[in-house]
């Protein structure tokens, strides 16, 4: 079934990490409203550039503020509709098979020592949001310098998680949401919220959207059903 804006269903561009949660939300939305919402999941960067190139998206849910800002600067989103929808947290994980001991994440904690001759898996701190948050946290905690050469910068959080799950890396920094769903890894510590900029998933309606359902869907994202779905995946739903 073609899911273009033309046939009346709503097209949501969403960061790929939201897939499970948003699929559930969309199902609930369809049930509640009798209307259809279709989501296109890809990297926030790709989606943002596509919207800039005229993609027929009605809403954009980004995995970080930067790409939303990118669109805002080009006046491609309605500023009034923009809000921060979800929050997430960073955790330190280790392969469950290693039966790892909890790690107290505090300034100067002995991460380098924990790594031994292994690498720390995390999303690429140069470009991927999760990596940037992770790097910021480690810097704030004063351990970045000791592990900077020992990073395994993955394409995204999922890839970093995979490295830990497979035992390739003894530790990794990932989102709580991803860690919770992966039985092969154990969360050995959580990064204090204050150690990095807030992890936010902003949402906005695009300027190009002509779909009257956009506002209704935006509202539905904050409905109880939606909240439940998001929380089930480990997200924090922001007010």
């Amino acid at each position: 079934a073609p899911a273009r804006a033309e046939d009346g269903s709503l097209l949501v561009f969403a960061a790929a990490s939201l897939k499970n949660a948003l699929d559930a939300v969309d199902a609930a939305y369809a049930k509640a409203s009798g209307r259809k919402a279709v989501a296109s999941y890809a990297a926030s960067s790709a989606l943002a550039k596509q919207i800039a190139a005229g993609a027929p998206a009605d809403l954009f849910i980004s995995a970080d503020e930067d790409w939303m800002d990118y669109l805002a600067a080009r006046r491609l989103i309605e500023p009034t509709t923009r809000s921060d929808l979800l929050g997430n947290a960073l955790v330190l994980v280790a392969p469950a098979a290693n039966h790892p001991a909890p790690v107290a994440i505090a300034p100067g904690f002995p991460l380098a020592l924990l790594l031994g001759d292994g690498r720390l898996a995390m999303a690429d701190p140069k470009s991927v949001p999760a990596g940037k948050y992770g790097k910021a946290a480690l810097e704030r905690l004063g351990v970045w310098a000791t592990v900077a050469g020992r990073i395994a910068p993955a394409a995204n959080v999922r890839a970093a998680l995979l490295l830990v799950a497979r035992g390739e890396a003894p530790y990794g920094i990932v989102y709580r949401t991803d860690a919770a769903a992966e039985p092969e890894v154990a969360i050995v510590g959580s990064f204090p919220a204050a150690s990095h900029p807030p992890i936010l998933y902003p949402v906005a309606v695009t300027t190009a959207s002509k779909n009257p359902d956009a506002a209704r869907y935006l509202a539905f994202l904050r409905s109880d059903a939606a909240r439940a779905a998001f929380r089930a995946q480990g997200f924090t739903v922001l007010e």
């Binding site: 073609p2 097209l11 499970n20 296109s40 999941y41 790709a46 550039k49 596509q50 190139a53 919770a180």
Partner: protein, 232 residues
């Protein structure tokens, strides 16, 4: 997880097949042309053309996808031209996915065809000319049949490549279910979601099964042809 395919999965399979088949079919004529020009032509800038043909192979698919987005997007110059001239829209349509797949498979197809073309015995073409066949006649009756193995190989490569294309497609036409969400994109989406791995694996197996069947059919066809073309 049941064994029966869900409607969404069926959609993705159907879409993947459609995209791969169109990509394969539409790139054949230009690929033959380019192979001819590269194998036989002598002109300034031939090396350049050769280089350009290889670009989709050399560039990260994301870059190719992004370039496609810039050129064939709604606001892109070529995108506008095709939309206005032929009513053909690529942006965020399955046609765009086919375009991306065709471009990514193009160098493979050209190379296979060219390889076969270069193996064609030109003395047979000369013989055809003495029998009255002009350039086109020679091509249709001698050259083309003799380079069939390369064409088939090219089609297979293009099809397989299209079937697995991911980076350029998702960058160019996004990942819209039912429209541009081919199997690799669907698999990707699952791998990106917490707990999506089993679904991704399942889809991967489906993808392997479908593409292997297609390959097998093509291989059989090729083997038949090979028998026909045993040298004199």
């Amino acid at each position: 997880m049941t064994l029966a395919l869900t409607p969404e999965e069926l959609d993705a399979i159907r879409l993947s097949l459609r995209v791969a088949l169109w990509a394969m079919a539409c790139s054949l004529p230009p690929a033959v042309l380019v192979a001819l020009v590269l194998a036989r032509g002598r002109f300034w800038g031939k090396a350049l053309l050769d280089g350009i043909v290889h670009l989709p192979l050399v560039l990260p698919p994301v870059v190719t996808g992004y370039l496609l987005l810039l050129l064939f997007g709604r606001q892109g110059p070529l995108g506008r031209f095709f939309a206005e001239a032929f009513g053909l829209v690529f942006a965020f349509r399955w046609t765009g996915a086919a375009l991306a797949a065709a471009i990514m498979g193009f160098p493979l197809m050209v190379r296979a065809i060219r390889l076969s073309l270069e193996a064609v015995d030109r003395r047979l073409e000369a013989a055809a000319a003495t029998l009255g066949a002009g350039a086109l006649g020679v091509f249709a009756t001698v050259t083309l049949p003799l380079m069939l193995p390369g064409i088939i190989a090219g089609l297979i490569l293009s099809f397989a490549r299209s079937f697995g294309e991911f980076g350029a497609t998702i960058t160019f036409v996004s990942n819209i279910p039912g429209e541009t969400e081919t199997l690799p994109l669907a698999i990707y989406a699952f791998t990106q979601a917490p707990g999506g791995d089993p679904m991704a694996l399942r889809l991967t197996l489906v993808s392997v099964a479908v593409s292997m069947s297609a390959l097998l059919a093509a291989e059989l066809l090729a083997r038949r042809l090979a028998r026909k073309l045993a040298p004199a």
